[in-house]
């Protein structure tokens, strides 16, 4: 049986609405207008223990709502959710003892307390055995290199430092599953790398199941074998990351630098994307015209100085994917 089972999940919010301005405010006093927002519609997937799954999708797609339902904070409008055999929002106390959660945009540490005091408090809250706690804490602190900061109050930390502390905080009670909602948001490059490394180690070495949401495609490339794309509350794709590329934007790019002025160029199945004085950027689909044949054709006809092939940047692939599925933020 899978560790996480989501079947026909739907969540509808009721949002109060009023016309702008004073007239709207007065009308709102008398009669409220409600609008239904379908944050999730018929989302189904399952996840085995030890898997690492990335949730991607535009802002407002329903990623965070999914995480909040799976972690037991929100109740769905309909559908079935089971995590480790428990329904999160029915059996909240037992469920939350087995999971760890990091919301990139919020802190679970106490603003005015030194990091270490916050960890102690969490160990008490999760009733972690004292000796086990010290060992676990030291191991985690060493992993994210937090030792020099332990005595500092949380409010004095940089975002990158705080995020490392958030990871330790979420893991002190040995959760089986880790939910990460945009864990790299706003981080600089080294901090992002540190977060990714930490997630990878937890998943590979300790077998922690990880479900993360992100907008950073490098997170996905570095971490996840499996990706779910969600847009406007619907599940659009579920599979290996590379299948997204082949499914939506298989195009590759060929950059050619010529020894002399750029010659005229035309070839079936190849588009000229940019034309420089002594260079060309071509777009082509390798399924239509194989890369070696294209290179050979150019190299034999023209004096070429340099040539290299690129894949389309992953951001572009995803943007294209959202476009294909009409999944841009409403």
């Amino acid at each position: 049986m899978p560790q996480i089972l989501v079947d026909a999940l739907a969540k509808t919010y009721r949002v109060a609405e009023r016309a702008p301005g004073l007239a709207g405010a007065l009308r709102g006093l008398v009669r409220r207008q409600w609008r239904e927002v379908h944050a999730l519609m018929d989302v189904s997937f399952s996840l085995e223990a030890g898997e690492l799954l990335a949730f991607i999708g535009p802002n407002g797609a329903g990623k965070s709502t999914t995480v909040k339902i799976l972690s037991g904070i929100l109740r769905p409008t309909s559908g079935r959710v089971e995590v480790g055999g428990l329904v999160p929002y029915e059996d909240r106390m037992r469920h939350v003892a087995r999971i760890g959660v990091v919301f990139g945009q919020r802190s679970q540490l106490w603003w005015d307390l030194p990091i270490l005091d916050g960890f102690d408090l969490l160990a008490d809250i999760y009733r972690v055995d004292a000796t086990h706690y010290r060992r676990r804490r030291d191991e985690l602190v060493a992993m994210v290199r937090l030792e020099p900061l332990l005595a500092q109050p949380v409010r004095q930390l940089s975002l990158g430092q705080r995020m490392r502390a958030e990871f330790v905080a979420a893991l002190l009670h040995d959760p089986e599953i880790l939910f990460l909602d945009e864990p790299t948001i706003g981080l600089d490059a080294p901090s992002k790398l540190a977060v990714r490394q930490c997630v990878k180690r937890l998943n590979r070495e300790q077998g922690v199941t990880v479900l993360l949401t992100t907008h950073d495609m490098h997170d996905v490339e570095a971490l996840a074998e499996r990706v779910i794309v969600i847009g406007q509350g619907r599940l659009l794709a579920d599979g290996p990351f590379n299948s997204l590329r082949t499914g939506s934007l298989a195009e590759r790019r060929l950059h050619v630098d010529f020894a002399g002025p750029t010659p005229g160029f035309e070839m079936p199945g190849v588009t000229v994307r940019t034309r420089g004085e002594r260079s060309l950027e071509l777009g082509f689909d390798p399924a239509v015209i194989p890369t070696p044949r294209l290179i050979a054709a150019i190299a034999t006809q023209h004096a070429v100085e340099d040539i290299h092939v690129d894949e389309v940047a992953i951001e572009e692939v995803i943007a294209r994917f959202y476009e294909l599925h009409d999944a841009h933020e409403a």
């Binding site: 965070s64 904070i73 109740r75 106390m93 037992r94 999760y126």
Partner: protein, 276 residues
């Protein structure tokens, strides 16, 4: 370990208590204000007793003790919902509270209790020093805070004080739940503060209100915050009357805790945490 079940709640209480205790300047400012108001109230009582001593339900000495006791323990009353909960509700931090394997009501109750007691402790100690020790020493014994009226009163005041604290925390936790439901503390506080001023007996001992109101005033929940425990302190309530007072405090505490738990359950069911 035997304390495992309450370990998280005690830890939450202790953390909050220690943190709030650090706000020395706030405590000193509060103490200064409470001395000032205490002085004014004592003078008003003196003027009233000078003219109408016969009409008063308690002696002037007891009324003065009532004032100082009230000023000392002012921070224990449920004036406003816990600002930490308000903050958590506005920033969405309340979502993390839902992620703790704890009884949600107990978690909030413990934190609010820590906040209340830490605010009250330094103020109360300073007030004992000022009104209970310094005033008699400088020859103003007539205007001072007297010790409890006898051993029985002192012994009965211990549970009365504990119940006062428990009741106040129950009122506050219920207020916190209303804050979570309405997403804003202002409305709650605007209603709560005036109710507490009048109905607890903080403004005036409840026996000073018109006869017609008294049967109601003496059984409503907020009487257990000031009027009942303080009258037990100077033995205006003794014997079976004191026990009835304690029962009323305990009963209302139980009712408010029960009601607060139900309300919490309902509010958390329809909780929505937006954005992010």
């Amino acid at each position: 370990m035997t304390m495992q079940p309450i370990r998280p709640y005690f830890a939450a209480f202790r953390a909050r208590f220690q943190l709030v205790l650090q706000y020395c300047v706030a405590a000193l400012a509060g103490f200064a204000t409470q001395c000032w108001w205490g002085g004014i109230k004592v003078m008003v009582f003196a003027a009233f007793y000078g003219a109408h001593a016969a009409a008063a339900p308690i002696s002037l000495a007891d009324a003065i003790t009532y004032v100082w006791l009230g000023q000392a323990l002012l921070a224990l009353l449920p004036w406003v919902a816990d600002p930490e909960i308000d903050e958590a509700v506005r920033t969405g931090g309340v979502g993390y509270d839902r992620l703790r394997p704890l009884d949600a009501y107990g978690f909030w109750y413990a934190r609010t209790l820590g906040w209340m007691l830490a605010r009250a402790l330094p103020r109360a100690l300073l007030m004992i020093l000022a009104a209970g020790i310094v005033l008699p020493l400088i020859g103003l014994g007539a205007w001072s805070w007297r010790p409890p009226s006898g051993v029985a009163a002192a012994l009965l005041f211990v549970p009365a004080f504990a119940l006062m604290v428990a009741l106040s925390a129950a009122v506050l936790t219920l207020a916190n739940v209303v804050v979570a439901a309405s997403l804003n503390a202002r409305g709650v506080n605007a209603v709560l503060t005036p109710l507490v001023i009048v109905f607890s007996g903080s403004l005036l001992p409840l026996d000073f209100y018109p006869d017609a109101l008294r049967p109601f005033l003496h059984v409503q929940p907020l009487a257990g915050l000031v009027d009942i425990p303080f009258r037990i302190y100077f033995a205006d309530l003794e014997g079976s009357a004191a026990l009835r007072g304690l029962a009323l405090q305990a009963g209302w505490t139980a009712v408010l805790v029960g009601f607060g738990r139900l309300a919490m359950e309902r509010v958390m069911r329809r909780l929505e945490i937006q954005g992010g």
